[in-house]
Protein backbone atom coordinates (compact mmCIF):
# COMPACT_ATOMS: atom_id res chain seq x y z
CA UNK A 1 0.00 0.00 0.00
CA UNK A 2 2.76 2.41 0.99
CA UNK A 3 4.59 1.45 -2.16
CA UNK A 4 1.56 2.29 -4.28
CA UNK A 5 1.16 5.66 -2.55
CA UNK A 6 4.86 6.45 -2.99
CA UNK A 7 4.56 5.50 -6.62
CA UNK A 8 1.62 7.88 -7.00
CA UNK A 9 3.73 10.64 -5.45
CA UNK A 10 6.65 9.98 -7.77
CA UNK A 11 4.43 9.91 -10.85
CA UNK A 12 2.43 12.99 -9.79
CA UNK A 13 5.41 15.16 -8.90
CA UNK A 14 7.38 14.13 -11.99
CA UNK A 15 4.40 14.85 -14.24
CA UNK A 16 3.97 18.21 -12.49
CA UNK A 17 7.62 19.09 -13.09
CA UNK A 18 7.20 18.08 -16.74
CA UNK A 19 4.43 20.61 -17.19
CA UNK A 20 6.47 23.31 -15.47
CA UNK A 21 9.29 22.59 -17.93
CA UNK A 22 6.81 22.65 -20.83
CA UNK A 23 5.46 25.99 -19.61
CA UNK A 24 8.98 27.38 -19.44
CA UNK A 25 9.77 26.09 -22.93
CA UNK A 26 6.61 27.84 -24.10
CA UNK A 27 7.69 31.02 -22.34
CA UNK A 28 10.97 30.92 -24.28
CA UNK A 29 9.60 29.78 -27.65
CA UNK A 30 6.23 31.48 -28.06
CA UNK A 31 6.30 34.55 -30.31
CA UNK A 32 4.86 37.37 -28.17
CA UNK A 33 3.88 38.39 -24.66
CA UNK A 34 0.23 37.37 -24.98
CA UNK A 35 0.91 33.83 -26.22
CA UNK A 36 3.55 33.47 -23.49
CA UNK A 37 0.90 34.29 -20.89
CA UNK A 38 -1.09 31.30 -22.19
CA UNK A 39 1.94 29.06 -21.74
CA UNK A 40 2.69 30.26 -18.23
CA UNK A 41 -0.78 30.23 -16.70
CA UNK A 42 -2.15 27.05 -18.18
CA UNK A 43 0.90 24.79 -18.03
CA UNK A 44 2.01 25.97 -14.58
CA UNK A 45 -1.51 25.64 -13.22
CA UNK A 46 -1.67 22.01 -14.32
CA UNK A 47 1.91 21.43 -13.11
CA UNK A 48 1.16 22.74 -9.63
CA UNK A 49 -2.08 20.76 -9.56
CA UNK A 50 -0.24 17.53 -10.38
CA UNK A 51 2.47 18.23 -7.77
CA UNK A 52 -0.22 18.84 -5.14
CA UNK A 53 -1.99 15.66 -6.25
CA UNK A 54 1.28 13.77 -5.94
CA UNK A 55 1.95 15.15 -2.46
CA UNK A 56 -1.54 14.31 -1.14
CA UNK A 57 -0.67 10.70 -0.19
CA UNK A 58 2.27 12.00 1.86
CA UNK A 59 0.11 14.46 3.84
CA UNK A 60 -0.18 13.78 7.56
CA UNK A 61 -3.95 13.70 7.83
CA UNK A 62 -6.92 15.34 6.17
CA UNK A 63 -6.03 18.84 7.43
CA UNK A 64 -2.66 18.85 5.71
CA UNK A 65 -4.15 17.48 2.50
CA UNK A 66 -6.80 20.21 2.43
CA UNK A 67 -4.09 22.83 3.10
CA UNK A 68 -2.24 21.62 0.00
CA UNK A 69 -5.44 21.87 -2.06
CA UNK A 70 -6.04 25.39 -0.68
CA UNK A 71 -2.56 26.42 -1.85
CA UNK A 72 -3.38 25.18 -5.34
CA UNK A 73 -6.70 27.05 -5.41
CA UNK A 74 -5.10 30.31 -4.26
CA UNK A 75 -2.32 29.97 -6.83
CA UNK A 76 -4.94 29.32 -9.51
CA UNK A 77 -6.91 32.46 -8.65
CA UNK A 78 -3.78 34.59 -8.63
CA UNK A 79 -2.53 33.10 -11.93
CA UNK A 80 -5.91 33.75 -13.59
CA UNK A 81 -6.06 37.36 -12.45
CA UNK A 82 -2.37 38.17 -12.98
CA UNK A 83 -2.40 36.85 -16.56
CA UNK A 84 -5.33 39.11 -17.44
CA UNK A 85 -3.74 42.14 -15.81
CA UNK A 86 -0.52 41.59 -17.77
CA UNK A 87 -2.48 41.00 -21.00
CA UNK A 88 -4.37 44.25 -20.44
CA UNK A 89 -1.13 46.13 -19.79
CA UNK A 90 0.42 44.67 -22.98
CA UNK A 91 -2.56 45.83 -25.03
CA UNK A 92 -2.50 49.34 -23.58
CA UNK A 93 1.22 49.58 -24.31
CA UNK A 94 0.63 48.42 -27.90
CA UNK A 95 -2.12 50.93 -28.48
CA UNK A 96 0.15 53.64 -27.06
CA UNK A 97 2.79 52.77 -29.67
CA UNK A 98 0.44 52.17 -32.64
CA UNK A 99 -2.72 54.10 -31.88
Amino acid sequence: MTLALDLLTIVGVSAGCFFFVAGTVGLLRFPDALTRMHALTKADNLGLGLIVLGLLPQAAGLGHALKLVAIWLLAQVSAAVASQLIAGAVLRQRSAIWP
Partner: protein
Amino acid sequence: MTFSLVRAAGFFGFWLILTGLSLADLAVGILAALVAMRASLVLLPPGQWRPRPLLLLRMALRFLIQSVLAGLDVAWRALDPRLTMEPGFIVFQPRSPPGPARNAFCAITSLLPGTLPCEEDANGDLLIHCLVVSPDVAPQLASEEALFLQALGGRPDHG
Protein backbone atom coordinates in the same frame (compact mmCIF):
# COMPACT_ATOMS: atom_id res chain seq x y z
CA MET B 1 -28.94 36.25 6.93
CA THR B 2 -28.54 32.63 5.90
CA PHE B 3 -26.15 33.88 3.27
CA SER B 4 -23.86 35.48 5.89
CA LEU B 5 -24.06 32.33 7.98
CA VAL B 6 -23.01 30.18 5.03
CA ARG B 7 -20.02 32.46 4.45
CA ALA B 8 -19.08 32.46 8.15
CA ALA B 9 -19.32 28.66 8.20
CA GLY B 10 -17.09 28.49 5.13
CA PHE B 11 -14.47 30.69 6.77
CA PHE B 12 -14.66 28.67 9.97
CA GLY B 13 -14.08 25.54 7.90
CA PHE B 14 -10.99 27.20 6.45
CA TRP B 15 -9.80 27.93 9.98
CA LEU B 16 -10.23 24.26 10.89
CA ILE B 17 -8.10 23.34 7.86
CA LEU B 18 -5.43 25.74 9.10
CA THR B 19 -5.30 24.74 12.75
CA GLY B 20 -6.87 21.32 13.02
CA LEU B 21 -9.34 20.47 15.76
CA SER B 22 -8.19 21.84 19.08
CA LEU B 23 -10.23 23.54 21.76
CA ALA B 24 -7.84 26.44 22.46
CA ASP B 25 -7.90 27.49 18.79
CA LEU B 26 -11.68 27.40 18.43
CA ALA B 27 -12.45 30.71 20.16
CA VAL B 28 -9.94 32.57 18.01
CA GLY B 29 -11.25 30.67 15.00
CA ILE B 30 -14.81 31.87 15.58
CA LEU B 31 -13.53 35.43 15.99
CA ALA B 32 -11.47 35.15 12.80
CA ALA B 33 -14.44 33.70 10.88
CA LEU B 34 -16.66 36.60 12.01
CA VAL B 35 -14.02 39.17 11.02
CA ALA B 36 -13.58 37.50 7.63
CA MET B 37 -17.36 37.30 7.11
CA ARG B 38 -17.73 40.99 7.91
CA ALA B 39 -14.95 41.87 5.46
CA SER B 40 -16.41 39.69 2.75
CA LEU B 41 -19.90 41.17 3.22
CA VAL B 42 -18.52 44.69 3.00
CA LEU B 43 -16.40 43.98 -0.08
CA LEU B 44 -18.75 41.64 -1.90
CA PRO B 45 -22.36 42.25 -0.85
CA PRO B 46 -24.65 39.32 -1.59
CA GLY B 47 -26.37 39.80 -4.95
CA GLN B 48 -29.59 38.34 -6.27
CA TRP B 49 -27.84 35.09 -7.14
CA ARG B 50 -29.14 31.78 -5.85
CA PRO B 51 -26.25 29.35 -6.32
CA ARG B 52 -27.22 25.75 -6.95
CA PRO B 53 -24.73 23.47 -5.20
CA LEU B 54 -25.15 20.49 -7.53
CA LEU B 55 -24.74 22.52 -10.69
CA LEU B 56 -21.76 24.33 -9.14
CA LEU B 57 -20.15 20.99 -8.39
CA ARG B 58 -20.76 19.82 -11.96
CA MET B 59 -19.26 23.03 -13.25
CA ALA B 60 -16.23 22.67 -10.98
CA LEU B 61 -15.66 19.17 -12.31
CA ARG B 62 -16.02 20.36 -15.90
CA PHE B 63 -13.64 23.23 -15.18
CA LEU B 64 -11.10 20.82 -13.70
CA ILE B 65 -11.15 18.67 -16.84
CA GLN B 66 -10.97 21.75 -19.07
CA SER B 67 -7.98 23.14 -17.20
CA VAL B 68 -6.18 19.80 -17.55
CA LEU B 69 -6.91 19.95 -21.29
CA ALA B 70 -5.66 23.55 -21.35
CA GLY B 71 -2.36 22.53 -19.76
CA LEU B 72 -1.94 19.58 -22.14
CA ASP B 73 -2.77 21.78 -25.12
CA VAL B 74 -0.21 24.43 -24.22
CA ALA B 75 2.47 21.88 -23.30
CA TRP B 76 1.94 20.09 -26.62
CA ARG B 77 2.22 23.34 -28.56
CA ALA B 78 5.33 24.42 -26.65
CA LEU B 79 7.15 21.13 -27.21
CA ASP B 80 6.00 20.63 -30.81
CA PRO B 81 8.96 21.61 -33.03
CA ARG B 82 6.64 23.13 -35.67
CA LEU B 83 5.08 25.50 -33.09
CA THR B 84 1.62 25.41 -34.65
CA MET B 85 -0.60 28.26 -33.66
CA GLU B 86 -2.60 31.10 -35.18
CA PRO B 87 -2.79 33.66 -32.39
CA GLY B 88 -5.32 36.46 -32.68
CA PHE B 89 -8.24 38.19 -31.05
CA ILE B 90 -11.95 37.58 -31.03
CA VAL B 91 -14.66 39.82 -29.63
CA PHE B 92 -17.06 38.09 -27.29
CA GLN B 93 -20.35 39.56 -26.14
CA PRO B 94 -20.89 38.28 -22.60
CA ARG B 95 -24.41 37.78 -21.35
CA SER B 96 -23.47 38.02 -17.69
CA PRO B 97 -24.05 41.47 -16.18
CA PRO B 98 -20.96 43.58 -15.43
CA GLY B 99 -19.70 43.04 -11.91
CA PRO B 100 -18.51 40.08 -9.88
CA ALA B 101 -20.24 37.47 -12.07
CA ARG B 102 -18.61 38.67 -15.30
CA ASN B 103 -15.25 39.10 -13.57
CA ALA B 104 -15.44 35.57 -12.20
CA PHE B 105 -16.30 34.30 -15.67
CA CYS B 106 -13.24 36.13 -17.06
CA ALA B 107 -11.06 34.49 -14.44
CA ILE B 108 -12.40 31.07 -15.43
CA THR B 109 -11.97 31.81 -19.13
CA SER B 110 -8.29 32.59 -18.68
CA LEU B 111 -7.73 29.01 -17.51
CA LEU B 112 -9.76 27.36 -20.30
CA PRO B 113 -7.89 25.94 -23.31
CA GLY B 114 -6.58 28.61 -25.67
CA THR B 115 -8.43 31.69 -24.38
CA LEU B 116 -7.22 34.72 -22.43
CA PRO B 117 -9.53 37.71 -21.85
CA CYS B 118 -7.56 40.95 -22.26
CA GLU B 119 -9.88 43.88 -21.81
CA GLU B 120 -13.41 45.11 -21.92
CA ASP B 121 -14.24 47.78 -24.51
CA ALA B 122 -16.64 50.67 -24.13
CA ASN B 123 -19.66 48.58 -25.24
CA GLY B 124 -18.97 45.95 -22.58
CA ASP B 125 -17.63 43.43 -25.11
CA LEU B 126 -14.68 41.30 -24.09
CA LEU B 127 -11.56 41.24 -26.22
CA ILE B 128 -10.25 37.69 -25.96
CA HIS B 129 -6.84 36.57 -27.12
CA CYS B 130 -6.84 33.04 -28.59
CA LEU B 131 -3.96 30.71 -29.33
CA VAL B 132 -5.89 29.46 -32.35
CA VAL B 133 -8.48 31.81 -33.81
CA SER B 134 -11.49 29.96 -35.16
CA PRO B 135 -15.22 30.66 -35.46
CA ASP B 136 -15.91 27.92 -32.87
CA VAL B 137 -14.42 29.83 -29.96
CA ALA B 138 -17.24 32.30 -29.36
CA PRO B 139 -20.10 29.73 -29.31
CA GLN B 140 -18.04 27.50 -27.03
CA LEU B 141 -17.48 30.36 -24.60
CA ALA B 142 -21.17 31.21 -24.79
CA SER B 143 -22.11 27.67 -23.74
CA GLU B 144 -19.56 27.79 -20.89
CA GLU B 145 -21.06 31.06 -19.77
CA ALA B 146 -24.59 29.71 -19.90
CA LEU B 147 -23.54 26.81 -17.67
CA PHE B 148 -21.82 29.21 -15.31
CA LEU B 149 -24.86 31.48 -15.03
CA GLN B 150 -27.13 28.51 -14.54
CA ALA B 151 -24.95 27.29 -11.66
CA LEU B 152 -25.01 30.75 -10.10
CA GLY B 153 -28.78 30.69 -10.35
CA GLY B 154 -29.20 33.93 -12.28
CA ARG B 155 -31.32 34.38 -15.38
CA PRO B 156 -29.08 34.23 -18.44
CA ASP B 157 -31.13 36.91 -20.21
CA HIS B 158 -30.49 39.29 -17.35
CA GLY B 159 -28.53 42.45 -18.29
